[in-house]
Amino acid sequence: MNKEELTAMVAEILQGLGREPAVKAADYRNTAPEPSKTDCGYADGDFVPDVTALDLRKLYLVDAPADGEKFKKMKLKTPARLGCGKAGPRYKTLTMLRFRADHAAAQDAVFSEVDTEFAKENDLLPTKTRCDSKDEYLTRPDLGRCFDEHNAKAIAGVIDTPPRVQLVVGDGLSSAAITANAMDCLAAIRDGLKLKGIDTGKAIFVKYCRVGAGDAIGDITGCELVCMLVGERPGLVTDKSMSAYITYKPRTGVSESSRTVVSNIHAQGTPAVEAGAYVAELIDTILKRKVSGVGLHLEEAK
């Protein structure tokens, strides 16, 4: 590719990006509004084909407000269900339906499973904890932290020399979060580690996964560090939030305080790719300091 072509390509990319509302350094909040070109587009009494498509930050339902415009400006800063108005002593129908829809999405994120093809398509080693169903997963946390002999052998068979860093993707409590964020984040982590001269081998996908499953993987592989991307318990704001749990010397029985966590990885929080780049640097720091979790904070405070 010559210089002119490159220049043209960059110009094309930059033009295609479109103008988004500027977020200044100091103004940034994790709850930055999801940029949308249009207003919420809802007027009282409209037929709404999909209640979840309305932007909660723009949905203002109070009848005859004293100063609705100002309330709307404040409302842009939070996805909380404020300014909902009321019908007698109750919510309006739209508010009620949206609440139930978001609640249903959160439950779905927990109860649905990551596509069976996900691991294969993304070149992950597919494994499963001792749980056999979502119900068992939810009622028996202990079983979500360990593997049966078959799965343990599968892991040991593929990862035969102890790696420095073992990357793991677990469905956890939100399959939606993993589908939406895990692979982007994982790729950025790999790049960041490569830059630090740390190679990462095959990553493992764990079905019915609790964070503690990483310790079992540590037992099996003998790795120095586990970084697990896992779906967070969904809420009513997003069902796609993911966390990265990093444990130095992961072995069954390590204390929870020895884990370093980066949470709120989703489109409206920290973007998956940027979070991945950050996690890679964090892993490098942890490997150098040989400690994670609270110990790392204490070490850095020195």
Binding site: L17, A26, A277, Y278
Partner: protein
Amino acid sequence: MSEKLTSVGLDVGTTSTQMILSELEIENRAGSFAVPELSIEGRRILYRSPVHFTPLLGQDRVDARALRMIVDAEYAAAGITKAQVDTGAIIITGETSRKENARAVLEALSDYAGDFVVATAGPDLESVLAAKGAGAVAYSEQSGKTVLHMDIGGGTSNLSLIQDGKIMSTSCLNIGGRLVKISPEGQLTYVSPVLDGIFPKHPGDYVNQAEIRQLAETLAQVLEMAAGLREKTQLLTALTTEGIATPACALARNDSTDFVISFSGGVADCIETEHPWLAFGDMGPELGQAIRCGRLCRGNYRLGAETIRATVIGAGCHSAQLSGSTVFHQNMAFPLKDLPVVRRPEQLAQLDSPGVLALEGPPRPGYRGIQTLAEALAGVFGDSPVLIAAEQDMAKALGQALALRLGRDAPILCIDRVRLTEGSYLDVGTPLGPAFPVVVKTLILNT
């Protein structure tokens, strides 16, 4: 985490020179379990200097040596040394900035404030700093009102239109209290060249209060035009500083309770307080009264929380901002100063010195998006260091992707959450934990 930055502000204006020392408190706003998010959470003024007259040699040259002595004395009075200062701004403003030796003055002083101080003289930046320093931006943010802020100094008036705490536009007019100087006997000792064709008197002529009042009323009317409260005439164009577009302030309307005009600068102190017309040997008192009796004060108006010190407080407390807290840098030495900003890659080749490429988007790019961007950008910097400032949160990932392509020896700096416009300049200080203090300058002195 809580860190402190010591910031100094020095304002060398047409009339007065002032210094403040302040402490900026940096805090991580994110929780312990999230990606850090540093921001400036507190600003505390530790020391305010008295208001000095700007030392001049003749009418149009700043006396650099005398100025240095003032600064020496103020550092001593504030009890700080050069090494203790982390950031801040020296700003040479108003008519003084156009004086031929302004750059020499900046150079004489620039060693003064640690290794990260912006030396600048752009009227745009001055408007922004004055509006922030006067508290007009904070007032607009808290009240939700639209504020037209006017900082009326000795030689210039800096206007900012602020909506919801955001500065929408700025402009600068050649209107100030010291466009004429008058001896205690009423003899003119100085008439600014900008008054050519507006004021028929010359140095040496005697004037009376009525004549000065008439001039003041003419100038106050021009401010009313800038505020959109009066039909525009060519006087507005004539008095608008060269190179600055006619203000968008025209969209301001004084008929709404949501619109407020606010004032700072030395002349602001002459609006609600009447002084004898020769109290300061200039037209400040008359200009203040002309403003008070005119259309600007007919609607809602307020004086800034700071008046004569607004610009210096802006320079000391509000010139630095922080980049996003996930950034990327390798093989770079800081601070970096006066980096020209471009928005299109092909413009980089036209610069004599390394430039910063400002990227607007895309918002929340995926991994593939970052790779494509890095692939395209890897070649455009040639032998110069790769300098990128993105608005969206992606600097660390983009920097890593570039480093993988250009190698670990390539000099690369990627920061984000900074908004830069074409033609501005960027200073980048030494990193503060995971973030960089940056100063965006909208204009610097023409060399």
